[in-house]
């Protein structure tokens, strides 16, 4: 089998470590990848789950306080009418983008390494978008009235939503994004759920997985349609993911406010979203591959590839900062320029320099292979990137708003304990959902990994019959 791996690496000049380790057959892959679903979780899972549930408690508390007292419980004021709510919304939506990029764009580019991490990243997308949606819903103060002006619903007021507003575009973009991500994820899960159903020992498991799998039986006629449908979902998700963060950036870019009114915003937001999203995948996948026993399927090659994407998108984000500052100076508009000077030297300069350190300096450490392939280093850097991206949204939103055109409108913004609690609460809620996902669903797209293994195997035999015969387990040489 060693020769096979050496060959797998040689076939792809960019590959260092193969995407699949060990002498796996469909049988052993099923056992390995479903192992964590059947195993009783250890102490570690319960400890983390307890912590996550405590975080979820904070979420409930913060929402209760907000709904009881109203938005006055938050630190928002005039002129800073948008603060933690939209910062966290943009941050969470951005985190979701890596999942769609991995599942859709890398599928279209036929990047085989994506199959090991797409399920995981798509789950992250869905859970992150749920957190993001909490903020626009709650910030209305009385969310039970929100449907009247968010959706084209015939209310008794007989006034319809105003479709020229970027905020309405946002409603459509984010709700479409959530729906499509969920359907795409579920479509990929159906074959694995059917496989789980057929291997269930208990009756309850069999019923639950049976219902969720919709009665999938792996029929060739079904796969025949499924393959096309999956590709179409990938095809529509690709422009969708680019549109979502572009539309989010329009919330700012369309406003005539110095610091926001910039044409560079859409691409720069999309790059930032992918940057933070991949960082979040690394933060979660590093411990998960170890504790779920997935090291054969999620190899150093996957981690290194993700770190390379973090590096590239980090450089795009840095370029975005550079251009934004350059244009502010070059425009000769003193209001525009004063916003940028204020960001670097004003009262929020600490957050600004933290952003520059985390987003511009740290990703460059991934130029070094040693750091790119070091588990502790990548884990710490991935967290720094997410801190940096949160600071970026804080800087864009708060510093642009807190000093208006006339000094009489200047006001500082300070978040309250409710703001912090709600933010921490969403992290808790996200972790709760993620831990449940890792407990009850296969964290790796098993059917897709098997298909990739099958294709690699056929490819080998085709090109090197002698070499493969010796390496393959009995019964597979005849392919």
């Amino acid at each position: 089998m060693a020769t096979e791996h050496a060959h797998a690496a040689a076939a792809d000049p960019l590959a260092g470590v193969p995407v699949l380790l060990g002498n796996h057959t469909d049988e052993t892959l099923t056992d390995t990848l479903f192992g964590h679903v059947w195993r009783k979780p250890g102490f570690g899972w319960y400890a983390l789950f307890g912590l996550a549930l405590a975080g979820f408690g904070l979420f409930v508390l913060a929402i209760a306080v907000t709904l009881y007292k109203g938005i006055g419980a938050w630190g928002n004021n005039i002129p800073v009418g948008w603060a933690f709510g939209i910062i966290n919304f943009v941050w969470w939506i951005g985190i979701g983008h890596a999942g769609t990029l991995i599942s859709a764009i890398l599928l279209l580019f036929q990047q085989k390494w994506r199959t090991s991490i797409n399920r995981f990243a798509e789950a992250m997308t869905i859970f992150a978008v749920i957190q993001a949606l909490v903020f626009p819903v709650i910030h209305t103060g009385r969310p039970w009235y929100a449907a009247y002006f968010l959706f084209p619903y015939p209310s008794t007021n007989s006034i319809w939503p105003q479709f020229k507003s970027p905020l309405m575009w946002d409603v459509f973009a984010v709700s479409t994004y959530f729906t499509i991500s969920l359907l795409f994820w579920f479509m990929g899960l159906i074959p694995d759920l059917a496989s789980l159903r057929d291997r269930s020992k208990g009756k309850l498991q069999k019923i639950v997985y049976g219902i969720l799998s919709l009665g999938w039986r792996g029929s060739g006629k079904h796969w025949h349609n499924w393959k096309v449908a999956y590709l179409i979902m990938a095809g529509i998700s690709t422009p969708l993911v680019l549109s979502v963060h572009s539309v989010v950036s329009f919330d700012f870019a369309v406003a005539l406010l110095p610091g926001w009114h910039a044409t560079i915003f859409p691409p720069y937001f999309v790059a930032g979203a992918v940057f933070s999203g991949f960082a979040m995948v690394v933060t979660w996948i590093v411990p998960a591959r170890r504790f779920l026993g997935l090291k054969d399927v999620i190899t150093m090659r996957h981690l290194e590839n993700m770190n390379k994407i973090i590096l590239v998108t980090g450089l795009i984000v840095s370029y975005g900062y550079l251009m934004e500052h350059f244009i502010a100076w070059y425009s000769g508009n003193e209001y525009e320029w004063s916003v940028f000077v204020n960001r670097a030297t004003g009262p929020y300069a600490g957050v600004y320099w933290l952003m520059i350190t985390c987003n511009v300096v740290t990703p460059n450490l991934f130029w070094f292979k040693k750091i790119r392939t070091s588990i502790p280093a990548m884990w710490i850097l991935s967290i720094l990137v997410n801190i940096g991206m949160w600071c970026e949204r804080f800087i864009i939103i708060v510093t642009s708003l807190h000093r208006g055109f006339v000094p009489s409108t200047w006001e500082m913004y300070y978040p309250t304990w409710v703001d912090f609690t709600l933010f921490a609460g969403t992290i808790g809620f996200f972790s709760t959902l993620f831990l449940l996902f890792m407990r009850f669903l296969p964290a790796v797209a098993t059917a897709e990994v098997k298909e990739a293994r099958h294709e690699m195997e056929i490819g080998h035999v085709h090109h090197h019959p002698g070499l493969m015969k010796a390496g393959l387990p009995e019964g597979h040489a005849a392919h």
Binding site: W223, W226, I458
Partner: protein, 184 residues
């Protein structure tokens, strides 16, 4: 196996193969023998089955395209009617019919309807959800079909040469052969 209290109407002859070549030759042989109701089962999509059994290309793209057209035009008409006809809203004296500002929502609705039509169209074409199916009666089938082996099924009216088909499938190299009957 089926608990036959009434006469079974159709039989499924199931055969398991460990590799693709065996499955494909079984497919060709059964098709050549004149059986029309043949299906395969595998844990992941296989290449070559469509050709071996002569299936037509999937109709999913047409369903998806219908969704795309409905979504895009639907969004355009909705915004036109609601913002320009039913309750015209003057926003800073911009044109009532300002198509550039409608593009984002038209795009999102196109994607949304395409996705919904693809997903529900897929399940409609596949006849899912369908919790139970006669092939699940075979224990050997359930054990490997969705995880590690390739299966073929030939559906014939009950009693019409079941045994002969089973023998033929064994001859092509099937590891396991099983028979299940549909109970009306």
């Amino acid at each position: 196996m089926a608990h036959a209290t009434t006469e079974p109407t159709r039989s499924w002859i199931l055969a398991e193969f460990t590799h693709l070549d065996g499955l494909l030759s079984a497919c060709r042989k059964m098709k050549a023998a004149g059986h029309s109701d043949i299906d395969t089962y595998s844990p992941y999509p296989l290449h070559g089955v469509d050709e071996a059994l002569g299936w037509k290309p999937s109709r999913i793209p047409f369903i998806a395209a219908t969704g795309a057209v409905l979504g895009g035009t639907g969004a355009l008409l909705m915004m036109y009617y609601l913002n320009a006809v039913h309750y015209p809203i003057n926003v800073a004296n911009r044109l009532l019919i300002s198509t550039p500002t409608w593009i984002p929502i038209m795009f999102e609705c196109t994607v949304l309807l395409t996705g919904l039509c693809t997903f529900f169209g897929l399940n409609a074409l596949n006849g899912l959800p369908r919790p139970h199916h006669p092939v699940f009666e075979s224990e050997a089938f359930v054990k490997t079909a969705t995880s590690s082996a390739y299966w073929i099924s030939v559906t014939v009216p009950s009693g019409e040469g079941d045994q002969q088909i089973m023998d033929e499938l064994r001859a092509v190299g099937a590891r396991t052969v099983d028979l299940v009957k549909e109970v009306p």
